[in-house]
């Protein structure tokens, strides 16, 4: 199998990874991608000493379209073990990416929805290109799903349970790049592909050893958890609100 993630050794030891599914017009979380990501992460780890940072981007009009809906639609109870295994593998690969020890930047050249945003959130920094059609978000709920590839865990740790649920997870909001920067889903917005790559390289140069906030000792989920009585008092309202305002 050809790896669908292109590997280009750029200047100063920065590797540019370009996702480009040969069989589809958009990148999705299919078997080709999972196998490719596994090989790429393994190669990154093997060549760690020669690498100063990683830029992850896409050759498609969109960054990444998320789960392969044809696959998800056909999943039955008999497939639960296989599906769980695939998701676990994806989560483990993105986890290895974010604990790589070298800066990993998502150069979001177009829409990053669902699984695409989950990949971007596993990167240390997100630069979004503002072009027609670019938007980020978790539309899973509109299909009767929830993000299963780390999107819940990471948004909750970035923004707290309440903001993650109400602004990202439970209503399937899609954000234009500037809005996404305002609420914190992306860090920078640029207007040309060149500016996007420049911003990624500059950030890598300035942040040689980034650590995700939740990997810093003492990190707490903003706004508290169900173990905190003041937050716990609000918990019953989340499901109630979902019935009141479906």
């Amino acid at each position: 199998m050809r790896n669908m993630i292109g590997w280009e050794a750029g200047v100063g030891g920065v590797v540019v990874l370009t996702m480009d599914d040969p069989d589809q017009s958009a990148n999705t979380l299919n078997a080709t991608f999972r196998r490719s990501l596994a090989a790429t992460v393994a190669q990154l780890e093997a060549e760690r000493d020669q690498i100063t940072g990683v830029v992850l981007t896409s050759a498609k009009k969109t960054f990444f379209a998320g789960a392969d809906l044809n696959w998800i639609r056909n999943v039955t109870r008999d497939d639960t073990a296989e599906l769980a295994q695939a998701i676990t593998e994806f989560k483990s690969l993105t986890r290895r990416l974010e604990t790589y020890g070298k800066p990993v930047v998502a150069a979001i050249n177009g829409a990053a929805l669902g699984g695409g945003l989950e990949i971007a959130l596993a990167c240390h920094h997100r630069v979004a290109l503002d072009v027609p059609g670019s938007e980020v978000g978790f539309p899973e709920v509109s299909l009767g799903l929830l993000p299963g590839g780390g999107g819940i865990a990471r948004t909750v740790r970035m923004f707290g349970i309440q903001k993650a649920l109400t602004e990202m997870l439970l209503q399937g909001q899609r954000y234009r790049p500037s809005q996404a920067r305002e609420i914190g889903l992306v860090d920078q917005v640029v207007h040309t592909p060149e500016a996007m790559m420049d911003a990624a390289f500059v950030w890598i140069r300035d942040n040689p050893e980034p650590v995700q906030p939740w990997d810093v000792k003492g990190h707490r989920i903003p706004g508290g958890t169900p173990a905190d009585p003041s937050f716990a008092a609000m918990l019953p309202m989340f499901p109630a609100a979902s019935m009141a305002y479906p």
């Binding site: 109870r77 639960t80 073990a81 769980a84 173990a227």
Partner: protein, 404 residues
């Protein structure tokens, strides 16, 4: 007395390590109970829950995830008929046996005809002591009642009885080896119900606290668990005020010869003979007698002996009638003292290991070990078994069952 309380089923979850990395940490305690209730229904298609009056569950730290009457919560969450009520009881470490005894009393009296009893404790999610309480936390109360933590009490028992570190460690090795043999021999196959996640994928199917390779050497390297709170914390002095003839407390208990902190749940189905017959259920045993008693709260863990004697007297049985003796292994010295007090035959005591190897999910243990004894009576063709636990605050609960 109107009738008999028959035991129709006794099942439990496996015990997960009571830590954030334990397999059952991600499973809510209510889900542990719901899984067992669904298993009861699946195993016994004839079981008519419309005739189950109550769900009585032990839970020792009934706050947070397991607060607010988890028994009623679980009954509703499991989708049982709304007439199946639900009450949570707390007799500390004997809560689940207390739940069974209460349920038996309801059935024997004739006022209820079928009751599910047991307990649940997710110690990884709701740590011991989460519910506070005047006994330990209120300085005035704990001062005037000579409160000490249980580990000090266990060490005081060892000191008074002259049990050495080697004695208690040897008992712990025995527990580990018997538990490993019981698992490999399939002795728990009938009662352990694997915990599945919402997709039906396995979460845990065995007791994961066990360390089958335990030896006297590995145990000898463990530091005493309670020397610090005894010395720096002042609790040795409290115990010695009351037990003033003791020179000093010998801290022999460690993490290796005390019960393990684990998560788990267990339920037992009790009912009248008539109800069982109507539903086509086969009784496996019956409750012969129950007993509860209090003892000195400072040494705290000596209640099993008087509770045992009381249960035997109520049943009109003698020691020699009992085929299996089961005392929860809260601490090794507690079991050794009970054996010495009653001069019990070691080969009939805790024959499948206990909480030192497999863990002690506080509010669930009583039901787990009652099920273990019932399974073993069936396996060996025995008749009577006695189950008892030592209890915080200085109490003892005991139950005698008969295989039928």
């Amino acid at each position: 007395m109107n009738g008999e309380a028959y035991i129709y089923e006794a099942i439990r979850t496996p015990r997960g390590k009571g830590k954030a990395n334990g397999s059952l940490h991600r499973v809510k305690p209510v889900s542990l109970v719901v899984g067992l209730l669904h298993e009861l229904a699946a195993r016994h298609p004839g079981l008519d829950f419309d005739r189950v009056d109550d769900l009585v569950l032990g839970c020792v730290s009934p706050v947070g995830d397991q607060g607010a009457d988890i028994a009623r919560t679980a009954a509703v969450a499991a989708g049982l008929p709304l007439t199946v009520a639900g009450v949570q009881v707390n007799r500390f470490c004997a809560s689940a046996l207390e739940a069974i005894n209460l349920a038996a009393a309801k059935v024997v009296s004739g006022w209820d005809e079928m009751v599910v009893a047991g307990g649940v404790e997710s110690m990884s999610r709701v740590p011991m002591g989460s519910d506070g309480g005047a006994w330990g936390m209120d300085p005035e109360t704990n001062y005037t009642t000579y409160f000490v933590p249980q580990g000090i009490s266990a060490d005081l028992i060892a000191t008074l009885e002259g049990f050495t570190r080697e004695d208690v460690d040897a008992y712990a090795v025995r527990s580990q080896h018997l538990a490993a043999a019981a698992w490999s021999g399939g002795h728990f196959a009938k009662s352990v119900v694997p915990v599945l996640d919402r997709n039906g994928l396995p979460v845990l199917d065995h007791d994961e606290h066990m360390r089958p390779g335990t030896t006297m050497q590995t145990l000898a390297s463990l530091p005493p668990s309670f020397a610090g709170i005894g010395d720096m914390g002042g609790f040795d002095a409290v115990a010695l005020q009351k037990y003033h003839w003791v020179e000093r407390i010998s801290h022999v208990h460690t993490a290796g010869n005390s019960s393990g902190i684990v998560d788990g749940a267990a339920v037992v189905l009790l009912g009248t003979e008539q109800a069982g017959r109507d539903m086509g259920l086969t009784p496996r045993g019956r409750i012969v007698s129950t007993a509860v008693t209090g003892s000195d709260p400072t040494i705290m863990l000596t209640g099993p002996t008087p509770a045992t004697l009381k249960a035997l007297a109520t049943a009109g049985l003698s020691k020699d009638d009992i085929d299996l003796w089961e005392l929860n292994e809260a601490f090794a010295a507690v079991v050794l003292k009970w054996i010495r007090d009653l001069d019990l035959p070691m080969e009939k005591v805790n024959v499948n290991g206990g909480a030192i190897a497999m863990g002690h999910p506080l509010g669930a243990t009583g039901a787990m070990i009652l099920g273990t004894v019932l399974d073993e009576l069936e396996r060996i063709g025995g008749r009577y078994g006695l189950v008892t636990l030592c209890i915080g605050g200085g109490m003892g609960v005991a139950t005698i069952i008969e295989r039928v």
